[in-house]
């Protein structure tokens, strides 16, 4: 299993957002998560990526515990273990969070070069290939503020996809793009499958999700209902 | 160099003299950046005779006793007035120079005595010992024009006003007066016989420092053999 959640719970202001969530994702599996707006989908992805603490339960990524229930406490991964986890998981944010002081290309190659010690030229080549497939190669040297909404979304996708981690999470990856680009994104995701990379997708776009997912998880009231 | 030399003891033969290098003519930096002055020349001669290497360390005058007591310098030699309070903290040599609060007038002035100053405009530097000395004599003060001293930011300002004829006399340290007069032209000024009291300059050492006695002796010898006077005449109008 690349991802294992067990009894994960999370509250904000005393309100349960995630309630006893447990599920598993295998290598190369594509799983879609559905739920109403405000159901807790983004929160779930943020927890899996260690951006939010959880109140209860355990999350295991690629064999390492990110969170581990120990009595009434939840232990958090630290040091080398955390570093390893960070490198086995990726996330495309719902609101992109592109680095505003870097160009499109720099946004994409920053992590490959600095975290994975990829050769710069190779990184640029890979980035350009992705940009081309996402039809924004001509924006290579633009800054985020100069991009349209859909262009930003594509840069965010390219930034996460260049890393090929063990599991990659997409939060509403097609909310701002047209049908043609949507197809490219679907293709890229399908390729992950063949590379044995697991994919977790949160989306309101049922058509898109259904067409590529192996499995669907529905969340309501903080619980998995199906 | 700006570094600290190690503090001298009798073997090391290096002695660090602390001085305020803004204090012309006793010790100050000349245009070339060398520390020169009357006290500097005296000190150089004294320590040449005693066989020490001497180093001059500029200090802030307000911090002089702190400098001495934290061993940053070995002695203070810079127009250092001997007072009772200071004697508590440092050992002084015998006075080597008397500094009086003198009255400077223009050469052609008809003022010859203190009494002639009645009803005249008299100037001094603000917050100086000259001001203090004059204001101690309340009767005298009340007889001056406007019943007060004309105070200026610097002695230089006061002497300029004298030259311009806007004041009639300036009360000032004799040492400074003689230096400035030399600088501005000896033909223009005159120093009256009478004065407003005097103070004595000495060299200050850490309590119990035996170097003090040696310096005292060297100074005495220099006075006897005329070296002292030669140095004095180099710096001051007679």
């Amino acid at each position: 299993m690349v991802l294992e959640l067990k009894n994960v719970a999370k509250s904000y202001k005393g309100k349960r957002i995630l309630d006893n969530i447990s599920f598993e994702v295998k290598e190369g599996e594509i799983v879609s998560i559905f739920g109403k707006s405000g159901a807790g989908k983004s929160t779930l992805l943020r927890c899996i990526n260690g951006l939010e603490t959880i109140d209860k339960g355990s999350i295991k990524i690629n064999g390492e515990y990110l969170y581990r229930q120990n009595g009434i406490y939840v232990e958090v991964a630290k040091g080398e273990s955390l570093k390893k986890i960070r490198q086995s998981i990726g996330l495309v944010f719902q609101n992109f969070n592109l680095f505003s002081n870097l160009t499109v290309l720099e946004n994409i190659i920053l992590a490959p070069i600095n975290v994975y010690n990829l050769d710069r030229e190779l990184a640029v080549k890979k980035a350009e290939l992705l940009l081309d497939r996402l039809k924004i190669l001509d924006k290579r040297d633009f800054y985020p503020y100069e991009l349209s909404g859909g262009q930003r979304q594509r840069v965010a996708i390219a930034r996460a996809c260049i890393l090929s981690p063990k599991i990659i999470c997409f939060d509403e990856p097609t909310s701002a793009v047209d049908d043609e680009v949507k197809k490219s994104i679907a293709e890229i995701i399908m390729e992950f499958k063949s590379e044995k990379i697991a994919v977790l997708i949160v989306s309101h776009d049922k058509e898109f999700s259904h067409s590529i997912s192996d499995r669907i998880i529905n969340i309501e009231g903080g619980k998995i209902i199906s | 160099s700006c570094g600290e030399t190690q503090v001298s003891n009798s073997e090391s033969k290096i002695v660090v003299v602390g001085l305020d290098d803004t204090f012309a003519p006793m010790g100050f930096k000349n245009e070339k950046g060398e520390i020169v002055g009357f006290d500097v020349d005296l000190a150089k001669e004294v320590f040449r005779r005693l066989g020490y290497d001497v180093k001059f360390q500029p200090i802030d005058w307000a911090m002089k006793e702190s400098e001495l007591n934290s061993n940053k310098i070995d002695l203070i030699w810079n127009g250092y007035t001997i007072t009772e309070e200071r004697k508590q903290k440092v050992d002084f040599t015998k006075p080597y120079l008397i500094n009086r609060q003198v009255i400077v007038v223009l050469k052609n002035s008809n003022i010859n005595k203190k009494i002639d100053l009645e009803g005249k405009k008299v100037a001094a530097q603000l917050n100086s010992s000259s001001q203090e000395a004059v204001e101690k004599q309340k009767d005298f003060l009340s007889k001056l024009k406007d019943g007060k001293l004309y105070l200026y930011e610097t002695n230089n300002d006061a002497l300029m006003e004298l030259e311009n004829g806007r004041v009639d006399a300036v009360v000032v340290d004799e040492i400074l007066a003689r230096y400035y007069i030399k600088l501005k032209g000896e033909e223009n000024f005159r120093i009256l016989e009478e004065n407003f009291g005097s103070e004595e300059y000495g060299v200050g050492f850490r309590k119990g420092d035996q170097l003090k006695d040696k310096v005292e002796k060297a100074l005495d010898e220099m006075k006897k053999d005329g070296t002292f006077e030669k140095i004095y005449n180099n710096w001051f109008e007679k």
Binding site: - | K29, G33, L159
Partner: protein, 213 residues
């Protein structure tokens, strides 16, 4: 005219000292300030408390007293420094405190999403700061930073208290020596010129940072 040339020549040592103290202090306290700002916003309570106590001491007492304390006070407990060393310690400790707070303001006004994105990509803390946070921080605080840097220029004159001959002290020496106020005018113009150059530099750097929003 000739006098002014001579004066400038005789004061160039002091100008050099002023510039020297300025730059050494600036470089070290900016670097330390960045580090302290990072520590200051960390979530380890005890460290936060220590840093904010340090900042209170540094801002709560005058720099002049800090110099005096380090140069004249510490020898009493056996810690002795050279003049320049003492000055640099005092200046750097003091300015680090002020810079820390400016940098903290700059870092805290950066969108949290930038930190999160760096984390998710696996960048180390150091890398996030180097590539993302610090460049954005500097853009945020340049005008406020200029204030403090300009104050530093004027504060360098405090070194007089340990007898170091900066430009102001050399001006004073020349005033007493030559019996004219001209040297002070030269000093004032030196400061104004120096600050003008700095302001201009800041303006240019600001413009350099305008490439993104």
């Amino acid at each position: 005219m000739n006098y002014i040339v001579n004066l400038l020549l005789s004061m160039k040592g002091g100008m050099f000292v002023t510039i020297y103290i300025f730059f050494i202090t600036l470089v070290f306290s900016i670097i330390l300030g960045i580090i302290t700002a990072m520590i200051r916003i960390s979530n380890i309570k005890i460290i936060r408390v220590v840093v904010s106590f340090y900042i209170f001491i540094m801002r709560g007492t005058p720099l002049l007293l800090q110099i005096i304390f380090i140069f004249f006070g510490l020898p009493m407990i056996g810690v002795t420094f050279e003049r320049y060393t003492a000055v640099f310690i005092a200046f750097i400790l003091n300015y680090t405190a002020y810079f820390t707070e400016i940098f903290r303001a700059g870092i805290q006004s950066i969108d949290k999403g930038q930190f999160e994105a760096a984390k998710v990509l696996g960048l180390s803390k150091f890398q996030s700061y180097r590539y993302i946070i610090l460049p954005q921080m500097f853009k945020n605080i340049l005008p406020a930073l200029a204030n403090e840097v300009i104050t530093l220029v004027k504060d360098t004159s405090l070194v007089y208290v340990v007898g170091i001959a900066d430009v102001l002290r050399e001006g004073k020496i020349a005033v007493n020596r030559d019996a004219t106020l001209l040297p002070f005018l030269v000093v004032a113009m030196f400061y104004a010129g120096f600050i003008y150059v700095l302001s201009d530099l800041f303006k240019k750097v600001e413009r350099r940072f305008e490439y993104y929003r």
